[in-house]
Symmetry: C2
Subunit: 269 residues, 2 copies
DNA sequence: GAGTGGTCTAGACCACAGA
DNA sequence: CTGTGGTCTAGACCACTCA
């Protein structure tokens, strides 16, 4: 009932009124789902705005309407909009700047490069990464790829192999797999250093989170050759699955990293 | 001025009034520090409550006064107290339970064990860790220890060496260094599996964050012997500095982990 | 000076837990 | 039934940015 009201009236803008109406709707919802059917208003605002971001209604870097305008459009109070905007900001999807406005997070800028890159130089360097693609091909998805990316048996993937340097120091070789259906033509594009901004701008796929599993391994012969060190050298293996705004696993990335001059930084709170 | 007012009137409870008085004080503050001297009220409430937690005024697991009581005591509105409590909750220092109250986070319970332990079994297991101390001694701080723990040249440390198992599978050997002065008598105590709850209950030191630097290394002979694998086996080295509520580095921990059956889990947002 | 986000208040009602 | 945290509103003022 709550969601119906919400979805059924997108054109007139009002999510739903508070107070009396809300009370009635809340009880109806409770009857339907026990007592767990309650979804706060700001959560619905969050979802609305999230959908607009996922649908690229607003482009990265672009300014959003002010809190007051959004509140009026959605038929809720400014405080409720604020709570939703704060939540989206906490999820790194928006950036708020006092006195200026609220903007769609631009994951192309310098500070955002490191959101998903935890490799840092041991010493002082900036840690800026560079990349060189060493291979790219389309193929039938392997069992591993189907498992990581939640693909059907007949699915095809594009595999990208590249080497990366941090502060001009060669130290990473990685294989990236994405579903061919989600990223049409990606094998024919000149790939940028930061793939996730390409996903966002060209394919409308925004990476929201990533799960990384780290292990220590001995370098195999191919990786050793690419990194120009002896086979068997200990290396850090990072197995990453990147998740988009709609909670789909959209990229699997297996990176093998030399850690002589760099380390993986993890901050626990 | 802001802080003076705040610190000078702890007994009458009022932080400071809003509106007119605040405006005047704010301007005075601005004159002193340019325009950056502004500290929001809820931030001061946060600091007050944080200090009480650091001073162990409230014990772990204990219930705090209700929002209304705290608001009345501190002379601010309930909404301001709420904002401070929410921030403390986000920092994992409090736990809020609707209908029951706000509690001091108890980092002894099962879910909190994993806040600072990112090693997980590859398969299904619970991942519960166990420990066995293999050595403990007091000594003069090494250069590394002085650097990590910010100690003076003459400082002494207590070093704890132990091996750990995850799901009964031996996989970690680690050396823990703490300043002897901060943890008097710790070398004579029967050490629990979860050291951080000991730090909190016996020494009033609450670990708030930890910075971990990960590298892949080849096992040295001593570690290899303790872990019963060949020397040279690739292993994950975790170099952790734990920071307490007052932002002091209080523990340095160097762990060497076999990753045949476990991995290090890192969630990026 | 106008417009934006940030803070603070006061008061209402809702969901939840427990006596 | 009472008390707690959770949500929502309305309105005020503050700090910041920029034309």
């Amino acid at each position: 009932m709550l969601d119906t009201t919400f979805d059924a009236l997108p054109t007139d803008g009002a999510l739903r009124r508070h107070a009396m109406e809300r009370s009635g709707e809340g009880q109806a919802g409770s009857r339907r789902t026990g007592t767990v059917g309650f979804r706060p208003l700001y959560r619905q605002v969050y979802d609305t705005l999230l959908k607009r971001l996922a649908d690229a209604v607003w482009q990265p870097g672009q300014i959003l309407p002010s809190e007051g305008q959004l509140a009026a459009e959605l038929g809720v109070s400014q405080g409720t909009v604020r709570k939703a905007l704060d939540a989206l900001t906490a999820d790194s999807l928006l950036v708020r700047r006092q006195g200026r406005g609220t903007f769609v997070a631009d994951h192309d800028d310098k500070q955002s490069v490191f959101r998903f890159l935890k490799l840092r130089p041991d010493g002082d360097g900036t840690g800026m990464p560079t990349s060189r693609v060493t291979g790219i091909a389309e193929a039938a998805a392997s069992a591993d790829e189907r498992g990581r990316l939640d693909l059907v048996r007949s699915a095809r993937v594009v595999r990208i192999e590249r080497v990366r340097a941090v502060d001009a120091k060669l130290c990473v070789v990685e294989t990236i797999s994405v579903a061919a259906g989600l990223f049409p033509g990606i094998a024919q594009i000149e790939l940028p250093n930061t793939l996730y901004s390409l996903y966002a701008t060209r394919y409308g796929i925004t990476i929201a989170t990533a799960n990384e599993r780290l292990k220590a391994v001995a370098l195999g012969p191919r990786e050793a050759e690419l990194l120009q060190v002896p086979a068997g050298t200990p290396a850090l293996e990072i197995d990453r699955v990147a998740i988009d705004l709609e909670e789909r696993p959209v990229e699997w990335r297996l990176s093998t990293c030399l850690t002589q001059d760099i380390h993986y930084l993890s901050v626990l709170r």
